[in-house]
Symmetry: C2
Subunit: 262 residues, 2 copies
DNA sequence: TACATAGGTGTACGCCGTATACTTCCGTTA
DNA sequence: TAACGGAAGTATACGGCGTACACCTATGTA
């Protein structure tokens, strides 16, 4: 079923081609590592669909016994997290020297392309609860585009939610949990550790920290309660409805493109 | 493990409480039916999460052997389809006599509420490929709100996609497949049958038919190719970006609400 | 050359969806 | 009122899944 000779050439026939030691040296299979596992998982999911991607099937693809994978990812959840990170890495970095609007536009379209290359990506992203460093870094740099364009932290915050709905799905609770990118330790942390983590987070993701500070400060309610989802949702919804209205009363049609009215 | 006496009172202790025939009559468990199964599935998913919802767990909840469920839904996929239909049924019907904008607004917010009551709903909806009648009927009546508000079929079409992104997730391919709500017959249909289905579809969902006819006619490309996803995506994206721009240059902040500028 | 340790293996367990074949229930009709 | 036929529920079994645990093997360093 699986390779008979561990760590050896999987093309078993080749074993006939020389003395054992030769074969051992020449044909030894490249060792696995986390990146090879993730990369293989991504392209296998592209091929056979995310529902058919199992640890066993992936192992087979890598010509390895299923349990071998667990030396590189601790379980399937972490595999999926890693696959998401791999996709985020495909998104282009922000255009330098462009105005905020075209910078944001280009970046969103790049993200969309990445998500379209892997049609399972959206569903997986939405199923993830832990935010990994790569995702946080992406959001941080995204926020930076607005801030550098002169947006207030306030408007940036809501714009991020509105855009986020387009890219990731329903309103995200990005800023809800301060312990956001720790490996979700089940034990409660002492306050000292917590504040140190916040400190560290602010260094790594300064723009996220800016936004988070604002919304924690803004509503005088319980600290760390996060955003008002309903507000965020209606904000984006009403932008769209107002847009429809303008187009409608301007007699817009799709041959004009969106610049047909103004 | 499962009920010892088939079709009998699951509270096994009660069996001591009388002659067998009495018990048989008095305590017989209500028979299952499709609705009871779906309803139980929805609230069980609410309780334990969609990932923990299995046919076996659901059967246990209904005090029945797992295979009993298969008399009412043909497999788990169909169960999930049914759960989606149950949620769509929770969305309020359109407000009568209101202008298009507030009608659409209220309806979207009602849909959002339904989706929020069942936090697993979005993910399940996105995983579904077959469009069920209840979903089609919902979309049809939704389209009707725009058309009755005087919108062109063209603008309605794009508005639906833009709103759809907010409600269901990434751009949907609603109009792609003419055989859309048939049980996805794997065998190719003779053209006569196909056109009859189209006819039937136009009667059941006249508004969808209106929109579909437009986009099939609009781009002179292959019939039935569906919408230009990229266009739909950029349409909604640019509406948002234009909105951000207006708010930004108007010095908007969130205490103003969206009417702070205009 | 020996050894610690990281990488890979084999086996086993308890879940999962569901095919098949069966028993039991119950409304209809004689 | 008895018998019958279809619908509802059951019993058993199979192959696939994620992964715990114990083990073996390869490899870089002392």
């Amino acid at each position: 079923m699986y390779a008979v000779l561990p760590l050896m050439n999987p093309w078993a026939d080749d074993r006939k081609a020389g003395r054992m030691t030769d074969v051992l040296k020449a044909d030894r299979r490249v060792r696995l590592n986390r990146d090879r596992v993730l990369q293989a998982a991504v392209s296998l999911a592209d091929e056979i669909g995310i529902d058919s991607l199992s640890m066993r099937r992936l192992a087979q693809e890598l010509q390895v016994v299923p349990m071998a994978l667990y030396k590189h990812v601790s379980n399937k959840e972490e595999l999926l997290d890693g696959m998401v990170e791999a996709i985020v890495a495909e998104i282009d970095p922000p255009e330098t020297g462009a105005d905020w609007k075209s910078a944001v536009r280009l970046r969103v379209l790049s993200a969309r392309r990445a998500l379209q290359r892997h049609h399972w990506a959206r569903r997986v992203i939405e199923s993830r609860t832990t935010k990994t460093p790569a995702v946080l870094a992406y959001w941080d740099s995204f926020i930076g585009m607005f801030l550098e364009g002169g947006f207030s932290a306030d408007l940036t915050h809501h714009a991020m939610h509105a855009i986020g709905g387009r890219m990731w799905g329903f309103t995200q609770e990005l800023f809800d949990d301060p312990a956001v990118h720790a490996a979700a330790t089940p034990v409660a942390m002492p306050p000292a550790v917590q504040s140190e983590m916040l400190q560290q987070m602010a260094e790594l993701y300064p723009n996220i920290a800016t936004i988070a500070a604002l919304s924690a400060h803004d509503d005088a309610s319980v600290v760390g309660q996060g955003c008002d989802d309903q507000f965020e949702f209606e904000f984006a919804l009403d932008l769209l409805l107002d847009g429809f209205e303008q187009l409608h009363s301007g007699g817009w049609n799709s041959k004009l493109g969106l610049r047909g009215t103004a």
